[in-house]
Subunit: 475 residues, 3 copies
């Protein structure tokens, strides 16, 4: 079902080179420094209960494609907010998915799911409307086997490091249990403070109150707020975190003198009862988000947590879906961004800090060669994250390498992130990246731009070495 | 002259796959849901009189290339506005064209014209300065033959549906004759209301008066104006139209409450004598265009006419050419567009309407992967039109497939549009698309991302199936 | 060390075609109409003293890559402003460079330096940390040989025309000596007036005073200022200049009536003591830059100097580097640009001037197919410069051809510019371009879009013919 040469270049000579490079990386360990798994799954070592809920109901790539073709989200196992009826049973969800399987032709979802079913779960029946039941039953049977529990899979997959993404206010209970457990796997949190730095969120003030409770700091003052954030960062680092993660709408940053920042904080902290107009409130909020990106970068320069920034998504673009189903239902849409102007204040202040690493991701591919490669090819603090989200795909990765490498080289990039929401799909995602990188390097060898030894060394770097170094994972 | 493997991938293994796929689509029927032919040609079944006027003087691709190289438009058969002298004779135009034929190397114009001369007209002499007379005479001799009349060509080309583009105020006389004719060909109008929705046009008020005359509605009121537009849409649909077509400068839409829309209409309908400043008038006009895109989408959700939107062209960028020759002389230039912000109001109101289909086209390729594929990959009402205008070319089509497919899949696209201005070139245009799609699919097969049966099914979809479904053409 | 087929397409059949095309262009003369060599090197025929200072310390591509990886600029032979200590010795610089040589994998810098060391200097030891001394000594030994003096290299490289870039205020002393010399090489200046058209420069007023001194014109008045610029252009043309060069931050142009332009000039000439607010001063400066692009184009329409415009670089983005090392230390970053709106005023006034040629370059590749190819494919005065700066690279050149050719054809482009800062690298740069163009044309032949004779003719055009014509170099 899965061809051993899949995703390698078609030209026979280049394919031979690519296959040799791929063979050298396919069994290397997996470093997964950015993803969205539930740490409790590892703390509890709980089995996955249903393949349909795992691969369909919780996967925004799958939801959005089927939604675009007219399938209601309810039929895919999602429930409207406030609707307490049980979700559509897994078998029905799986039937709907299988009927629409041909919609995923030539998408990365197809690659991931075929690899997951075939290689991870060992199912040799191709998915389709006629085989939906067979595949569903076989998959769920596997998942009930202890060999498919999270810890066993972590080991079988050759994982050596796996970071989850955790809100600043998360009590990190599962991570604390993992730290105290004798299991040798390394599953660590990532500090994501989006909830406590955006005054436009309706729960901003409440979140700052919770932040005060968690840390014992006075989040009514600028200094106390910063101290509280530092305290949470330290708590994350204590549990093994090596990075932070930031998803602002734009990469705009502001470098404000402390007194101005404090005054701005006082205004946004106070909320709406201070006589500001709507326009002034919006401008304050935007400015504050920019100030906080810079302040959080300054904290990274102190505590050494690698800072990831991935701007440019218009979250919840579809108001009907947002109202009914809440966030993360597939309706996020990229927009144009300006990294060069946006990051200038942050880089002007911190661009040479020796302990700082800032990893940039984009959904706006026009910035690869115009902005990101030139920025990362100059500033010592900058590194480029891999092709992200909609571009985490064979063609997307090829564009990333072709558009970035000539200006930034390989060493200003950080290897691959799987960004996975299901542990089952992690090998598939890294496998796609290793195959595409092998093909890219093979093309360079075939054009005599790199020799085979250099290509082999670079392939190992792209597969695992650069991720270890950028995310400060000791091998 | 025309190599049977032209435009197929160079790698021998991939070419074999591509050739097999192409062979399965080359003789499929042609659905042409978007173009600019004159319906009277079919109603009258009138012969084309001169190959030079047909392929040179009326083709904006040819005019602009030769103009850019210093050839005056007069030498290509265009007359300045108000100049009643006869145009340059066809033979002279053809000589000029043949002398400059090498300017078209590696352009789609070259592909189209070689196919038209070689395959459609059966001329086996390659075009060049030395053969200009021979080709000209042979072509005009063919065109005088009844076998080259429009209806005969429609049948020979395997056309099953052909839509023209017609202004909202067009009396549709030729289309009415076609409906009443016993000829079985299906040549239908497309409703293009640009003339009656843009208050910045000098003839806006006059056009609304004509709209009132045509429909018997009072276009002095908002409700009457909407009723008049509905009446024209119904008249188009009666003559077989399945779609509307909209070419706004930007994709900005506005969702205005009825009372606000009515007040805005009253201001823009009244013209300039109401004390508004120039800035206010411009803002009103821009807002009104945005309101009307939304209102026209709402009408499509009612009457089921598929809505095509192709924004982003700065029409008549060259004032000297515009003054002397009027519009459509090759001086339209694309600009950056924002679909994500622009369409949010329309999609927020109508993004889930079951009868609505909106087909989006772009000249700004940076929006393919950043905006269009993510939007069409979420909203059920959206579909993506093919690589358009300057991008209706081999490389342009490849970019479209590579940048769109991984996020939107094939089923959120609508197949090919020829956008032709000459019936003679329609087979050439569809042939280029079928070859490029065969090559794209063959590459997916060669990389084991698709099997051959899936590729064959998809090739047929791209050639004709998706167009039939998207444009609601019953096969 | 250098494979004879490097940079040619990997497919064996396409490579055969590409090799044949490349063989026909590899030994054609070199026309170098745009670069940054020191004319005094030719006037004095002075030897290059040190390979490390020549290829590392003065090359912004090399500086930026090593800086991005944490190497201080001081270690690369740069001295901070005002620091009079001698720079790091060449041998040490070369060691640092060699240790980091693997950072340049898959970059054009690698291609250029391997070619320069291997083909120009005849060194057959591959560069690396272990061979740094051997390569350094061998290179410097060659450079001490009279056969490696500038004039000998000019002849050996087959150069037939080489333009330097010279400030409007440059006294052109070396160029005057070259004119009076009997050496037959053609090394000419290019008029670059950026220093005297930007009121935001701190030395603007002082520069205008110097302009007055140089020309005897009264640069206190608009008419005198224009006359002074015309006088400098004539002085450049007397020394063989065929072109001007302009690097504005944006391509914005303004077409102002003479009286308005004169009033604006009076304001910006006067500086800050006239009661304008900061905002008004900034707006005046921006408007003046736009006016001057148009006025300088009008002068080109008179005197026939080809006008080159390359907008869109945010110069000196890194304030720390700028403060310490001054400009040109590698911290220039591209930004988004709008050619279509920006150039509309200039093109509206001068788009059809028979003596005018404007050559456009971009760092924003999203403009290739959206803006530049459509503009150059219509306006007779426009031509497109080659893939520029960060895009002067194998993949960058391929993107340029693929994105530009189908709309603009080959004849609206101007061949290759090396933009070199070291004479030693000129053959390498042209060789890369000729190989990539041979590969692009071979692909067109392999897909039967061009026949071999046409491809051969086009290859020669791209290698040298188009540059001769566009830059008005008599062969």
């Amino acid at each position: 079902m899965l061809h051993p040469d899949r995703l390698l270049p078609a030209d026979p000579g280049v394919r031979r080179l690519a296959r040799a490079l791929y063979e050298r990386t396919r069994d290397l360990p997996i470093v997964s420094p950015h993803g969205h798994l539930d740490p409790a799954a590892f703390a509890d070592d709980a089995p996955v209960d249903d393949i349909a809920h795992e691969l369909v109901s919780r996967d925004h790539y799958v939801l959005r494609m089927l939604h675009s073709q007219g399938v209601p989200l309810e039929a895919l196992g999602r429930r409207p907010l406030g609707d307490d009826a049980p979700p559509t049973p897994g078998r029905e969800v799986w039937h709907t998915f299988a009927e629409h399987w041909h919609r995923f032709r030539a998408t990365p979802t197809r690659q991931w799911i075929e690899h997951t079913l075939g290689e991870v779960l060992g199912i040799d029946v191709p998915l389709g409307p006629d085989t939906a039941d067979d595949v569903y039953d076989a998959a769920n049977e596997r998942l009930a086997d202890p060999a498919y529990r999270p810890r066993a899979l972590y080991e079988r997959f050759g994982l050596e490091f796996l970071a989850t993404t955790d809100a600043a206010l998360d009590p990190l209970e599962a991570h604390a249990r993992l730290r105290d457990d004798r299991w040798p796997g390394r599953v660590v949190p990532t500090f994501r403070p989006d909830d406590v730095v955006d005054p436009d969120r309706p729960d901003f003030a409440a979140n700052l109150d919770r932040l005060a409770d968690l840390t014992g700091e006075d989040t009514g003052s600028w200094d106390g707020y910063l101290a509280a954030l530092r305290a949470r960062r330290a708590a994350f680092a204590d549990l093994g975190a090596t990075a932070t993660d930031h998803g602002p709408a734009t990469p705009t940053t502001v470098d404000a003198p402390p007194a101005e920042a404090a005054a701005l904080f006082a205004r946004v902290r106070g909320g709406g009862s201070d006589g500001r107009t709507d326009g002034e409130r919006r401008a304050d909020a935007a400015c504050f988000r920019g100030v906080m990106l810079t302040e959080l970068a300054a904290m990274s320069a102190e505590d050494g947590l690698v800072m990831q920034i991935h701007p440019g998504s218009w979250r919840n673009h579809d108001p009907a879906v947002h109202r009914r189903f809440g966030p993360d239902a597939g309706a996020d849409i990229p927009r144009r961004v300006d990294f060069v102007g946006g990051l200038a204040p942050l880089l002007g202040r911190l661009g040479h800090e020796p302990r700082l690493t800032v990893v940039l991701y984009t959904l706006d591919e026009s910035t690869y060669s115009r902005e990101l490669a030139p920025l990362a090819g100059h500033y010592p603090v900058l590194r480029l994250g891999p092709a992200w989200w909609f571009h985490d795909s064979p063609e997307g990765m090829r564009r990333f390498r072709r558009l970035v490498t000539e200006t930034a080289g390989f060493h200003n990039t950080v290897g691959f992130n799987d960004d996975a929401r299901s542990l089952l799909t992690i090998p598939a995602r890294h496998d796609v990246a290793r195959r595409i990188d092998a093909g890219f390097l093979a093309e360079l060898v075939a054009e005599h731009r790199l020799d085979e030894a250099e290509a082999a060394e670079t392939a190992a770097d792209l597969a695992v070495g650069l991720a270890r170094r950028a995310f400060r994972v000791d091998p």
